[in-house]
């Protein structure tokens, strides 16, 4: 893997063209591993000698390009991109002896193994389907012989029948009318009542979490319900002109203040 460290980012014109052709066909891939396998073919080497660093670059370039073209990429493509970016940095930086976990080379070797194994299974599948097949290349007896002297009835059932029968019984009782479990639900009406009584004291910016009713913050189910109701009630009060609301950035605390 060491030789990769000195590799320049030399993506040839033909490779770039190939990568663009790939993007148009993004729906044709069965996930990131499939795409990586296709990309690795542009290196025209034995899969065991594939340069994972180069592959990571190609993949990241692909994802960038797809983003620029505003193509929808499924989440797992982005997860793979993040992982490859991490892998790329590991491969490029000298190993940090204090760092825990597998080295970049180990990770790269595993990825190469996965690609080789997937390719091997595809080849195996192709060879399997190329075999002579029953009913196409060779044939079973056309007529089973019927001798009518002895008649006996047997009963047949397949494993599928059996399993489906069982599933049928066991799922029959799953259906009951939908009933809300009221005990752990804090309604918006309750929250509104509570907030109306409290906002008189909220002259300064105060976090919304402090408005949660007591006794609702231990059980996660109850906390979720109370948070949602309090938030909805706050919005309602903002709409009515009684409250102001702010949040500095995503996931930052939400703050409330009485409107003068």
């Amino acid at each position: 893997m060491a030789e990769n460290l000195f590799e320049e980012d030399k993506v040839s014109v033909s490779e770039r063209l190939a990568a663009e052709a790939l993007i148009v066909d993004v729906d044709g891939f069965e996930g990131p591993l499939d795409l990586l396998l296709t990309l690795s073919r542009t290196q025209k080497v034995d899969l065991r000698r594939v340069s994972v660093l180069q592959l990571a670059r190609q993949y990241l370039a692909f994802v960038e390009k797809a983003k620029a073209l505003r193509l929808e990429l499924a989440a797992d493509y982005l997860v793979m991109a993040a992982w490859l970016a991490f892998l790329k940095s590991r491969l490029l930086l000298p190993p940090d002896p204090t760092e825990e976990g597998p080295s970049g080379e180990e990770l790269a070797a595993h990825l190469a193994f996965q690609l080789e194994r997937l390719q091997a299974m595809r080849d195996a599948a192709a060879r399997l389907m190329a075999r002579d097949q029953l009913g196409r290349d060779f044939f079973a007896r056309g007529q089973s012989e019927m001798v009518t002297r002895v008649r006996k009835v047997t009963y047949s059932a397949t494993l599928l029948d059996l399993m489906q029968g069982y599933a049928r019984i066991r799922t029959r009782d799953d259906f009951r009318p939908f009933v809300m479990d009221r005990e752990s639900v804090f309604t918006m009406e309750q929250a509104l009542d509570r907030m109306r009584g409290l906002i008189g004291y909220a002259g300064d910016w105060t976090e919304i979490s402090t408005y949660l009713p007591e006794g609702w913050d231990n059980d996660p189910v109850r906390r979720r319900s109370a948070t949602a109701a309090t938030f909805a009630a706050s919005l309602e009060l903002v709409k009515e002109g009684h409250l102001e609301m702010r949040q500095s950035e995503m996931f930052a605390p939400i703050q409330l203040r009485k409107r003068d």
């Binding site: 012989e145 029948d161 399993m163 029968g165 069982y166 599933a167 019984i169 799953d174």
Partner: protein, 216 residues
């Protein structure tokens, strides 16, 4: 084979040697669902073949064998030698699909064994008819297990080795659970309400029950 027929080769021209023709007729007779006439054979064989002669050779080859090349009207077929008809009894068997009640009962026994009749009825939600259990016993797919140590000491039912053989299972413990059935697409996709189907206890129970039977 072909050296037997060499003297004919000049007239056959492109046709395969007679040994090959015999093989071809043999394969066709074997695979067709209906007896086949010489004319039909001629139409299916490569150009220039002589199925009538191939049939003469083939017929001779099967003389005294377990099956014979037999004339049926003006057509030909491979048939069991008449003295071996007694071996064919199994071929005359009529197969019928097991009834839904029987399949469900069988499934419950397989998944919950050892299980009493009352337990089967509780799971199915209807009473189990005598005929259903008798049928399964007769098929030798279930048998009586040991009695339960509960009041009345009811008999239990368990599945048999025949059952495992018939359904291609190595043991009843390998039967897939509901989650696995769903994952394999064998269950209509209905969302289990309230998260999970309460199957865990069952699973433990049946694992217990079955391990008793199969561990030893």
């Amino acid at each position: 084979m072909s050296e037997l027929y060499e003297e004919k080769e000049e007239s056959l021209f492109e046709a395969p040697p007679m040994g090959e023709q015999e093989r071809m007729v043999e394969a066709i007779l074997f695979a067709t669902t209906e007896p086949i006439t010489v004319r039909e054979l001629e139409a299916r064989l490569p150009h220039g073949c002589d199925p009538a002669e191939a049939l003469v050779h083939l017929r001779k080859r099967y003389e005294g064998r377990g099956v014979t090349v037999t004339r049926v009207g003006d057509a030909w077929a491979i048939r069991t030698a008449s003295d071996l008809g007694f071996l064919m009894q199994k071929e005359t068997v009529e197969t019928r699909k097991l009834s839904r009640a029987a399949i469900e009962t069988l499934a419950i026994i397989a998944y919950h064994q050892p299980v009493t009749r009352a337990e089967i009825e509780e799971i199915r939600g209807v009473s189990v008819s005598r005929g259903t259990v008798d049928q399964l016993l007769e098929l030798e797919w279930v048998r009586f297990g040991r009695r339960k140590m509960t009041p009345g000491r009811p008999v239990t039912f368990v599945v048999t080795q025949d059952f495992l053989d018939h359904f291609g299972l190595e043991s009843a413990r390998d039967l897939p659970g509901l989650k696995e059935l769903r994952a394999a697409g064998l269950l209509e996709n209905r969302p289990p309400p309230g998260g999970d189907v309460p199957r865990d206890e069952d699973e433990d129970e049946s694992a217990d029950g079955q391990s008793e039977l199969f561990e030893d």
